[in-house]
Amino acid sequence: MASNKVPITRLGKFFGESDFDLELEMGKEWLHGDMNFTCVLYKIDRYRTNTDDVYGETVQDGIKFHPPIEFKAYVKIIGTENKFLGTSKIEQLEPGTMQLSIYIKDLEMMGVDIEYGDYIGYYENENRVRYYTVSNDGRVTSDNKHNYGGYKPYYRTIMCAPVTNNEFRGL
């Protein structure tokens, strides 16, 4: 079904499509060229993954995923938290959550979408990757922050929570 497109003409007196694209290209140049944070997206293959009929859970290493996709995003990782595991006396250094900011145009060019529950790997060094699960896929971008000066949405903020090895470890 063909979708109707409505041209965005707001802010047109001093800002337009070409300005928007220019700013976006400059931003992408900064992100891809200067920052170059690389993440790996593991999209779950919902057909090949064997899940529990009642709870929808998988066994360890039972999650099947599509071929991993690299993408660039601005990565912010929240600080760790030293605390007890609930009310047990077992101490742990809980890794912080990860916040990704990714251009919508990048996702469109790659032809992928990041959805709730997908897994994302982030290489902390050459040998070690930490896996996160998407807890907020930032799909709603209607707020002013995600609109370029109120013109059009241009990026998504994705929140990810760390996962333990027995849930997902990229194998």
């Binding site: 609930g86 009310t87 333990t164 849930e167």
Partner: protein
């Protein structure tokens, strides 16, 4: 011959596994339990203190509540985690993740340190003042004589210790698995752990869900099972060993002098008493003054053909079986004997009015 050849089912009571050594019952079982308590030790039981009870509970969790997930035994943190952090590492290093954090699923035990006087039914509030009780006679040789030592122990002190079993996992099926094991183990209200030969009951108090479900943080389940170990303390420092009696010397000391008079017994029934009026040979008249108001009831007479009664010198009657006397009255009996050479007697029952 096989039962199946006859298309017969197995009887319901059939035992598929038969013990080669039959289990003891009754007195024999009690003796066997006593041997377990004294095993590898002296004639006295071994101390059962807090650490022993803690070890007993940890062993119970490991052995009786153990279960496996996906073919792997769920690890148990086999210590009570304390303020010394390094000890946690010694128990969790086998199931740590890359961050050196304990990786679920695993089980850990938290002990409440507010331990109170217990509710062990056979020892609670029975014997005051830590009295020592006989436990055993033990033969000994003092270099000259074979004798016995008497071993005494006080009554054990009851103690209730509350433990919380924490199960940390991230799958519901694992929660179900542990819950099934706990329900089966505690289907009879309580289960037992064995501490130095003693069977110590454990009661299941409560279960609660303390799962961490913050939306933008790592999610995991924490299921908390609360148990009370109904135990007792035996401290061997309180045991007493003392030599038994080898010779018994008895001394009897007697003194001379007047025998002590026995106290007079009170009358059996002060409302009624008996009185005999005895007429010696040659005597036919006797008088008596009564200080109480009584009724005289004649019970019997001996060697008397006739008698007359005078009260305060006034004629009362003859041969009366019932005489009413006021206090201060003077009663005179005049009898006619059957045989003057013998004594005569009137027997009355006096009833105080």
């Amino acid at each position: 011959m096989n039962l199946e050849d006859y298309k017969m089912p197995f009887p319901k009571q059939i035992k598929k596994n038969i013990d080669l050594i039959p289990n003891k019952v009754g007195l024999a079982r009690r003796k066997e339990m006593l041997q377990e308590i004294e095993q590898d030790g002296t004639f006295l039981p071994k101390s059962v203190l807090h650490a022993d009870l803690d070890r007993g509970f940890l062993d119970f969790v490991k052995d009786k509540l153990g279960f496996s997930v996906e073919g792997k035994q769920v690890p148990v943190v086999d210590i009570i985690v304390t303020t010394q952090n390094w000890a946690q590492f010694t128990q969790t290093y086998k199931f740590q993740d890359l961050d050196k954090n304990a990786s679920p699923p695993f089980v850990t035990v938290v002990r409440s340190h507010d331990m109170k006087y217990g509710s062990y039914p056979s020892t609670v509030y029975t014997i005051p003042e830590r009295r020592q009780f006989f436990y055993a006679y033990v033969p000994s040789f003092d270099g000259q004589r074979t004798t016995v030592d008497v071993y005494q122990i006080p009554q054990p002190i009851p103690i209730d210790i509350k433990y919380t079993l924490k199960f940390i996992c991230n799958r519901v099926r694992e929660i179900n698995q542990l819950n099934k094991v706990v329900l089966e183990r505690f289907s009879s209200r309580q289960a037992y752990t064995k501490v130095k030969g003693h069977y110590i009951p454990i009661k299941w108090d409560n279960v609660s869900d303390e799962s961490v479900m913050e939306i933008e943080k790592r999610k995991y389940y924490i299921i908390s099972y609360e148990f009370t170990l109904v135990g007792f303390l035996i401290d061997e420092d309180e045991f007493v060993i003392k030599p038994g009696i080898t010779r018994n010397l008895q001394l009897l000391e007697a003194t001379g002098g007047k025998a002590r008079r026995q106290p007079r017994k009170p009358p059996f029934n002060t409302d009624k008493f008996y009185e005999n009026v005895l007429f010696l040979p040659g005597t036919t008249i006797l008088s008596d003054k009564f200080s109480e108001k009584v009724n005289l009831k004649l019970i019997s007479s001996y060697n008397i053909s006739n008698y007359e009664i005078w009260i305060n010198n006034l004629y009362y009657g003859s041969n009366s079986n019932y005489i009413q006397v006021n206090s201060g009255d003077s009663v005179r009996f005049e009898v006619t004997k059957k045989d003057d050479n013998l004594e005569s007697k009137l027997s009355f029952q006096n009833i105080l009015v």
